[in-house]
Symmetry: C2
Subunit: 217 residues, 2 copies
């Protein structure tokens, strides 16, 4: 999950590998727990919404008390941000995976859409879609905007590539990316994990729709 920074920093006055092995274990442990906090929060946010979820709720779902949560996370806002980031990372991975592909733009776009749908139906989906500026401080909000913009740029450049290689009809790349992202993001609003439709099937229908269009060919 979302890469934490420099673990294994300079071992002041080194004292054998055993020491740092165990410290490393502790650090990993901490990260695992931190991730558990974030995932629990993500699910809670999705089920009840950000403002209807108290940190006490999250804590008690983890069988733990509130200060423990604060031991892993700065504050509620950061918790939302981490959920957001974890979700977006899934999408970004999908985009990056296609960077080295030699397929046509349209094919790569389809692959990204599939991963996007997968990500948006996860517990993080709700957070990604709802982590709106409004609940975040200006600083966080800027970061969120920056990350969202990366995704947007990724989509646009795939569209551009498709137009360039002739696999996509020339179109307004900005509006197309918006429509695509909108349709995909909106899944988070209606999708229930017990849905008959798996994310991959939804993606398939969307790809077909966006590729072929409504007008008969």
């Amino acid at each position: 999950m979302a890469g934490r920074q420099a673990r294994k920093s300079n071992p002041q006055r080194a004292s054998g590998p055993a020491l740092w092995a165990s410290v490393g274990a502790r650090v990993r442990d901490r990260e695992r727990k931190r991730d558990a906090v974030i995932m629990t929060a993500a699910r809670a946010f999705r089920e009840r919404g950000y403002h209807n979820t108290s940190l006490d709720d999250i804590a008690s779902e983890l069988n733990v008390t509130k200060p423990t949560v604060y031991h892993y996370v700065e504050n509620k806002e950061q918790l939302l941000f981490e959920c957001f980031r974890s979700g977006l990372a899934l999408i970004m991975n999908g985009i990056e995976e296609q960077r080295e592909s030699t397929a046509t733009g349209r094919e790569r776009l389809a692959a990204v859409i599939a991963r996007y749908a997968e990500a948006i139906t996860s517990d993080f989906g709700w957070c990604m879609v709802q982590a709106e500026n409004q609940d975040l401080s200006p600083t966080m909000s800027r970061k969120v905007k920056a990350l969202k913009s990366e995704i947007d740029q990724g989509l646009r450049s795939l569209i551009r590539a498709g137009v360039a290689d002739g696999s996509i009809r020339p179109c307004d790349e900005k509006m197309t990316a918006f429509a695509l992202a909108g349709a995909l993001n909106w899944i988070a609003h209606w999708y229930r994990s017990d849905d008959k439709l798996a994310a991959s099937e939804i993606a398939q229908r969307f790809i077909e729709l966006f590729e072929l269009g409504l007008q008969p060919r």
Copy 2:
């Protein structure tokens, strides 16, 4: 805005038209003010979000105090619901307008999309999109779901009509409606009223995209 119920109820012991004219005026006055409350709330919700907008905020934007707001509306939840309803009414109007049209399904769908985009860029847009179950009591939530479902059914039946008359390629009408609604609803997330693009232009691009698809023809 959103039809209130029975005004001009039985004038107990009628006493001339003048009386009821003025009573009527007062009722109209009340409704105008109530609408002002709702519109102010809608704008505030859009700008700062539901949970970040206090009733004191709304009141002071109206140059009035909180109990006055409560004089026009039951509680905060209902305020959100009214915003939601006003917005949805705009969309429903668009759909109903097309009922008697003789155009093809695809053409009627395009007309509905245009109205939809118009509605979603209004101050009510945010409320429609965000008035999620989560902030509403079960009762309200049910009503919201029912109204949303009406829109959904409207879209689907247009798609069905289009498939039937041959103007729309046979497709999964449910997923198509979801994708369409998602792309449109999402506009509320990125649209700023000072945007270069007018709602009508956005709609135009969306219609083109959904009709022609990405694949070159």
